[in-house]
């Protein structure tokens, strides 16, 4: 510490594009964007070594705001596109971003199988328990008694437990973070990126427009009182019985990563295109 020298790695600002976010002022996704840039700097990658893939929704706009490769894809299909990308280009660090509606509802099936396949990538869900972009419909993580113009009596439906589902389906790293602590999110993201296999990070990211009461999340979150475990059953029990605001790395597994052989002897894109010629 005495020999503080100047840093040689890229600074977070190097990962920020010239496009300005259009999220509502106060939205938690700003902090998550800031955390992405910090995490990329922390893992010592260059923008051209990273690809950020997203689906549809407010949070899915994030690739445009970064200088890394980006793919703003189809609703709920970010994980499918990202899986293909990682298998074809294993040299890239692939990070997938989206919201709770995109990931757990429209893309719910892809979520299960991405966990199961355990391809080496990181999935970040900015969970605000609502469809913000389409004006506030309940999402799979919306509380059953949340009332709005669109659900005047609440949905009455049991909430989806993404962290437990991820564990049951085979995710290799599971964490929860809170957007109000961008440095904390960045540290968890960096760990998730470094961890081999499918890493899943749920970031509680308030929607100040449709769920203004979520501003109080900053009083509710607290560090997870226990160290991460490598036992998925133990992790699942903890998560099912916590208050939903435990923040930190909750599970680190060591499952074998799915990485099929690619490259030599395989068809080139031009060969594939010939099959579609008319």
């Amino acid at each position: 510490m005495n020999d503080l020298t100047t840093a040689t790695a890229l600074q977070p600002a190097a990962f920020k594009s010239d496009y300005k976010p259009i999220w509502c002022p106060g939205c938690g996704d700003y902090s998550v964007l800031s955390a992405f840039t910090k995490a990329f700097a922390m893992v010592g990658k260059k923008p051209e070594e990273i690809a950020v893939v997203s689906g549809i929704g407010c949070s899915s706009r994030i690739p445009a705001y970064l200088t890394s490769y980006g793919f703003h894809g189809v609703h709920g299909r970010a994980l499918a596109a990202a899986t293909g990308l990682k298998v074809a280009r294993p040299d890239l660090t692939v990070v997938v971003a989206g919201g709770d509606g995109d990931g757990y509802s429209i893309g719910g099936n892809h979520f299960l199988h991405a966990c199961r396949r355990n391809v080496d990538m990181t999935y970040v869900v900015m969970d605000n328990h609502v469809y913000g972009m389409t004006k506030g419909q309940p999402s799979p993580t919306t509380e059953p008694d949340w009332q709005s113009k669109l659900s005047p009596s609440g949905t009455g439906l049991r909430v989806f437990h993404p962290l437990v589902v991820a564990l049951a389906a085979g995710a290799n790293f599971v964490a929860r973070a809170f957007s109000g602590d961008p440095n904390g999110v960045a540290a968890i993201l960096a760990e998730a990126i470094r961890h081999p296999g499918f890493s899943f990070v749920e970031v509680l990211s308030p929607c100040v427009t449709f769920r203004p009461e979520q501003r109080n999340w900053k009083q509710a979150v607290h560090p997870a009182p226990v160290e991460p475990t490598d036992d998925p059953a133990k992790a699942a029990r903890r998560i099912l019985t916590d208050d939903g605001f435990n923040v930190g790395i909750l599970y680190r597994g060591d499952r074998m990563v799915y990485a099929p052989p690619v490259g030599k002897g395989k068809k080139k894109p031009a060969d594939l295109e010939r099959g579609f010629e008319v």
């Binding site: 840093a7 999220w23 004006k135 904390g184």
Partner: protein, 193 residues
Amino acid sequence: MKQAARKSAAKKRAVPARGAKPSTATARNMNELMAYAYALEIEAAERYAEFADAMEAHNNRAVEELFRKLARIEHKHAEQILEEMGWTAPPKSPIGGYQWQGLEGPETADFATLHYLMQPYHALEIALLNEKRAFEFFSGLVRRATTDKVKRAAKEMAAEEAEHVRLIEDWMKKVPRPEAHWDVDLDPPRYVD
């Protein structure tokens, strides 16, 4: 009733530090002290620029302009530190990272402090709180300093932050105070009964 609620919200905003843990930051030499100072200034500059971008996206030009000005000021401070120390690139963070009092640097405000209808006065309230936290941070470094040289330098920085507090307070006197219902939107994004 509404006014009372707003007053209470304003009081909450005046909480001195984000996050509950007390700062344990120490600077054992000038390099460490100036690394802290640089990190504090550059983080603040970046956050103000992000705030300005958010306001620009929502066509709140007056507040955008103010945040841009604050970003420029903080950026200038950061550049001055690099120049004084003869550093050609930003310094590395201390081992174990920066030990801030809150979740981020003392001059870095939370994104949640923004509102699309906020006015320049609100932006200055944010800046004032940041400067007060910076003053407290450097005062803490003075108390925990182990060498006279670091203590003297930290004291100077605390004095500079105290001066910034006074400047912002003066600035606030020249800016109109928001009216009671500044956040009422006649065409809100969300309708409630």
